[in-house]
Symmetry: C2
Subunit: 407 residues, 2 copies
Amino acid sequence: MKIIEGGAASAKGFSAAAAAAGIKYEGRTDMAMLYSEKPCHAAGTFTTNIVKAAPVKWDQDIVYHHQGARAVIINSGIANACTGEEGMRICKETADAAAGILGIPADSVLVASTGVIGMQIPVDRITKGIGLLSPALENGKEAGNRAARAIMTTDTRPKEAAVQIEIGGKTVTLGGMCKGSGMIHPNMCTMLGFVTTDACISKELLQEALSENVKDTYNMVSVDGDTSTNDTVLLLANGMAENPEIREKNEDYKAFCQALDYINRTLARKIAGDGEGATALFEVKIVGADSKEQAVTLAKSVVTSSLTKAAIYGHDANWGRILCAMGYSGAQFDPEKVDLYFESRAGKLKIIENGVSTGYSEEEATRILSEDEVTAIADVKMGDQSATAWGCDLTYDYIKINADYRS
Amino acid sequence: MKIIEGGAASAKGFSAAAAAAGIKYEGRTDMAMLYSEKPCHAAGTFTTNIVKAAPVKWDQDIVYHHQGARAVIINSGIANACTGEEGMRICKETADAAAGILGIPADSVLVASTGVIGMQIPVDRITKGIGLLSPALENGKEAGNRAARAIMTTDTRPKEAAVQIEIGGKTVTLGGMCKGSGMIHPNMCTMLGFVTTDACISKELLQEALSENVKDTYNMVSVDGDTSTNDTVLLLANGMAENPEIREKNEDYKAFCQALDYINRTLARKIAGDGEGATALFEVKIVGADSKEQAVTLAKSVVTSSLTKAAIYGHDANWGRILCAMGYSGAQFDPEKVDLYFESRAGKLKIIENGVSTGYSEEEATRILSEDEVTAIADVKMGDQSATAWGCDLTYDYIKINADYRS
């Protein structure tokens, strides 16, 4: 597996573009288009929130009931959630406009939105934007990067990853981009993620690879415990790498899954590290668990604890809050057997052993917790299962961003 | 039911005292004692966190297996949680010291602690404190208030309530105090709550009255979603009102339960309004629910949403976050049927109808949300069940308090 610079327009036959359509933001790009020369198998995972944004419903219909996806139209600024029938109509008008200008069927156009809930998108700006996007489509990392910037809301940096593998003597490329900073507690997938590949793989295995992988990647991220109405991950495969089609769970499938895992894991970590107001990526590893479910429950409970997140912001080794968050998670374990470590580039320190303090140095702990990526590792000594969750610290800026997000 | 000024030392035969024992804080009282002239029936509800503080385990043993409680010794500053066997030994030494000085059995002494997790309590200061507390015991509202102040940690004000009812021609008094500001997401009961009454009531009904009532009161409060290791509510009844003993669920029991509900509801609201860093009490009412469980799930999900709490701090009618939090709660409902209102002393405003905006005035909404007690009311139009949850806004000061709580 070769990590390359790139993103959603790096695989063969995929192009991307960005445009400033003035939907809500001024002076920045706020629309992106992804396009594939050839029809794609599309896989998708979507929010489990009962309140589903209109684009989520639109995409579910396309992914589940239609073949040959060709394009994705994305806007930032307005989420098109809680917008009733008019919201669905806007999805259709968006797809129709893109279909017309690109000369493809409307049911091959996926749409995605992110931003404020409850406002209607001015559809004339969307159609204007599509007019700007279509002639600007380009393959390659620059175009992919422009698209990754256009889909940002409170994100402070674009989030991309790309990788190449060999399958049957052919080079297969996977590349992706995502956005997400607040209202991040994905349940099925993150806010918005787009992965493109030229791999030749059956639609069934493409969906299975994605559905399995999001459990360990996007679904293990939490910025604030709020599962969005718009969470969507789309994975498009256009087959242009010309590898022998992956139709069964063989070595090729395994290689594809590993590459997909790299992309999704990298993007998931980038979302956590760029959580609203965050100064640090906070990683929580549970080891020695009895079952995978137990490990996941414990890791997620710690990574979403407001008190723990505030302590991470303060570089404070307040381990009692971590043990407390494990305790109320709902998972069973013996608190008097737990060992806990803090780790970062600055070192690794055992903080508690069998549930009580080791008498560690607070200075040393604070030094370790002052890095911009910090990890808490809890060993519950019950078995050999583990899980990793990613979040961030809880800061003044999170409040600042969210106390008056709409103005 | 007559609401009176008072607290945990208002019922007949109960006295309270406060002392500065120097356990962790300087220049303030940090220990309290409650004492009953006569042995009490004791009821208790305790944290469901697997990580239970030593005093929780101590009190569970007393409440479940011993008769005739006489005293409660409470300290603030150190929680005596995650303290292993030494923590249990400190509970025993505390009870022994109090038993010795008060001339009562050690198994009639309840203990409670609140503060930092993981530190050991210096037991010599506890015994010194008990020596100061015992001669200072007094009945009445002043003594009760001193005790309510001594048990505060990050609380900004003492929290008390008292009420009188008539049962069988006798005046029965109930009074209580509680503390709680951070790590507040009670599951069984709040951080620390103490209710005393001179009612004559069987131990079984006393426990049942408490267990039922905490579900609608303390368990509906959330400051930050973190269920503490120390949550404890104790209800002591010494029978000194000399009313005919309440042994069955008759009118007298009903009157007692109503009075208890007043005390617990008042204290629960006080906890929410004094949440760490809070500028406003945030009340969430779900009406028109299909079942009580559905209403509770929806109300709790909204009241714990970080994004909603930050919007309340910003006086921002960001209703999409409320609908979003209802959507990911796990409860089933039709988002396109929901009506939502904001209400406060400044008025009441319908914000959404059948899931979409009413086109309300943002200025009017902000005016309503600028009060220090604000309510969101969501009607899901499925039935006649309802629930109310209490929380607070999420502010810069919450971060400030928790980024470096230990120093």
